[in-house]
């Protein structure tokens, strides 16, 4: 019983973080599907989402409004980033573009530091801070918000890909880019859409996590790397894989923190990444593409 008593608690915090990782991972996957590049600025979209929502909340203390405005602004940033930093590249080989995204990440982080300074800012939890007791474990309402809204966003994304013409066109591009162009699907438009979607998901993740961790200009790097790991673990480009990878990673981290030491938290994440790369490089859900 001694071991199992805290297990539920670890699972709850693991699934909460995992949900955040999953949203970030989906952003990596969506951009990869449209462009075959890894967008290392994805973590900065998470940070921007959190910081923008905090600023909007200060201007007008309404959380739903701050959430929507934060996601909206960052979506625009994602699209503009692609337009200004990636589209004009004359020799768009994947490696060039990936390096540009790394540079973009550094730039965005620097700009955020100038804009918001180095302080960490709070965002109030969406519905108070009164814990709910589940046996020996406690759940904060914000944990439920994170998991619930992540589930809602994932379902909305799935519906977008299955039911809308734009979503189907994006999938078509990922499956067979040349054929998609022969159907009249504009590759450039799909890339733009993918950057917008990924930025929106990242921003959503940042706004959800901000009440639990505070928002600070350099929060993007680690969250981005975790989301990237989750995407690889689950299988880059697979929606189900991204979600699964995020949850597995979050729970593994949380168990390591609880049963071993919080110092090993990040080590476990990257150990898991290496294990997957050694044993199943296509990821848990990745097909042999």
């Amino acid at each position: 019983m001694d071991i199992f008593a805290p297990l539920l608690q670890y699972l709850i915090s693991g699934l909460t973080n995992g949900a955040i990782y999953a949203l970030i991972a989906l952003g990596f996957g969506i951009i990869y599907n449209a462009t075959t590049i890894i967008n290392f600025a994805q973590g900065e979209m998470v940070m921007l989402g959190a910081m923008a929502a905090i600023s909007f909340y200060h201007l007008h203390p309404s959380l739903p409004l701050a959430f929507a405005a934060g996601m909206g602004v960052v979506t625009v940033v994602g699209v503009v980033f692609e337009r200004l930093a990636l589209r004009p590249v004359k020799d768009p080989s994947p490696i060039t573009l990936i390096i540009i995204t790394v540079g973009g990440a550094v730039f965005i982080k620097g700009a955020a530091m100038m804009l918001w300074g180095k302080d960490a800012y709070p965002l109030p939890p969406f519905t108070g801070n009164v814990p709910i007791y589940l046996g020996t474990a406690t759940v904060l309402p914000q944990n439920l918000w994170v998991m619930g809204l992540t589930a809602a966003l994932v379902l909305a994304l799935e519906a977008f890909f299955r039911l809308t013409l734009a979503g189907k066109a994006m999938r078509a591009c990922a499956y067979n880019n040349r054929a998609a162009r022969l159907m009249g699907i504009s590759a450039g438009r799909m890339v733009q859409l993918s950057f917008g979607l990924a930025a929106a998901l990242g921003a959503g993740a940042g706004i959800l996590i901000a009440p639990l961790t505070l928002g600070v200009y350099d929060m993007g790097l680690m969250l981005g790397l975790k989301g990237f790991s989750a995407a690889i673990i689950g299988g880059l480009g697979s929606l189900l894989g991204g979600v699964l990878g995020g949850l597995v990673l979050g729970v593994a981290e949380s168990l390591a923190t609880g049963f071993i030491s919080s110092g090993y938290r990040d080590a476990v994440a990257f150990l898991l990444l290496l294990l997957v790369l050694f044993l199943r490089p296509q990821g848990l859900m990745g097909g042999g593409k």
């Binding site: 013409l165 189907k168 078509a172 040349r178 159907m183």
Partner: protein, 245 residues
């Protein structure tokens, strides 16, 4: 309808087409025959805007060289690419829907529904398999779907790249008779085929392409009788050829 003058195309720095001049008149079926690597697919891709070119490609009087593929599709040129290139993990219905992508964006829903019925009329088997994944269809069904998908854009000019590739002779017959039917309905077709005999049988005119140049052109019936073509592309025995059968 389609006029190509002095077209050069490159893959990287490799010259794949050098000075191709040809044309397709409205309502014609024109065959493009030639060996592997002669530049047939390159020519189709050049028309569709998928490869960089120099020279003139005029479609209905408008120069389309240098336009993006989506703009060329919008003008009424569709391609059925070599090897079908279906969206394999997507259903038959989704593949057809994406074929009409540009028209959906313009809101032509009613016409699209009519065209779907037309496609089912041409290929009844597709209708039975609407919810099946395209990748699980047989080779012949995949080719039918590729053609139906291209038709969903309601093209004025249909480009077909090796539609008989890897199919059983009986299925090839099927596909070719469908092409004949489409021609009778007024569609203009540019057909690339390695199966030169089959292509020449349904074509009005043909061009023979060799190492990026057009070396011969004429009425399909004449080319079927032409000695050079017979020897090189129709698989006549060399002895038969030299002794004049």
């Amino acid at each position: 309808m389609l006029k190509i003058r002095n077209l050069h195309a490159f893959y990287g720095s490799v010259l794949a087409l050098s000075g191709v001049t040809c044309h397709v008149r409205e309502g014609e079926v024109v065959a493009l025959i030639g060996a592997n690597g002669a530049g047939k697919s390159t020519l189709l891709n050049a028309i569709c805007g998928l490869v960089r070119t120099q020279g003139e490609v005029k479609f209905q009087g408008k120069n389309v060289a240098g336009l993006a593929p989506e703009d060329i599709v919008a003008l009424g040129i569709s391609q059925v690419p070599e090897g079908r290139q279906l969206f394999a993990p997507m259903t038959v219905a989704e593949n057809l829907e994406l074929g009409a992508y540009l028209r959906f964006r313009r809101g032509h829903k009613k016409e699209i529904a009519q065209d779907l019925e037309h496609a089912y009329g041409l290929f009844p088997r597709l209708k039975e398999r609407l919810s099946q994944k395209a990748g699980t269809l047989s080779g012949g069904e995949q080719q039918m779907l590729a053609i139906a998908r291209a038709l969903m854009a309601r093209p004025r000019l249909l480009l077909l790249d090796e539609p008989s590739l890897g199919l059983a002779p009986i299925v090839v017959e099927d596909i070719l008779s469908t092409l004949a039917r489409l021609r009778d309905e007024g569609l203009t077709v540019l057909l690339v085929e390695q199966n030169a005999r089959a292509a020449l049988k349904i074509a009005d005119r043909a061009y023979v392409l060799e190492t990026g140049r057009i070396i011969l052109s004429g009425a399909a019936q004449d080319l079927l009788q032409d000695r050079q073509v017979t020897r090189a592309y129709l698989g006549k025995d060399y002895k038969e050829f030299t002794e004049g059968r």
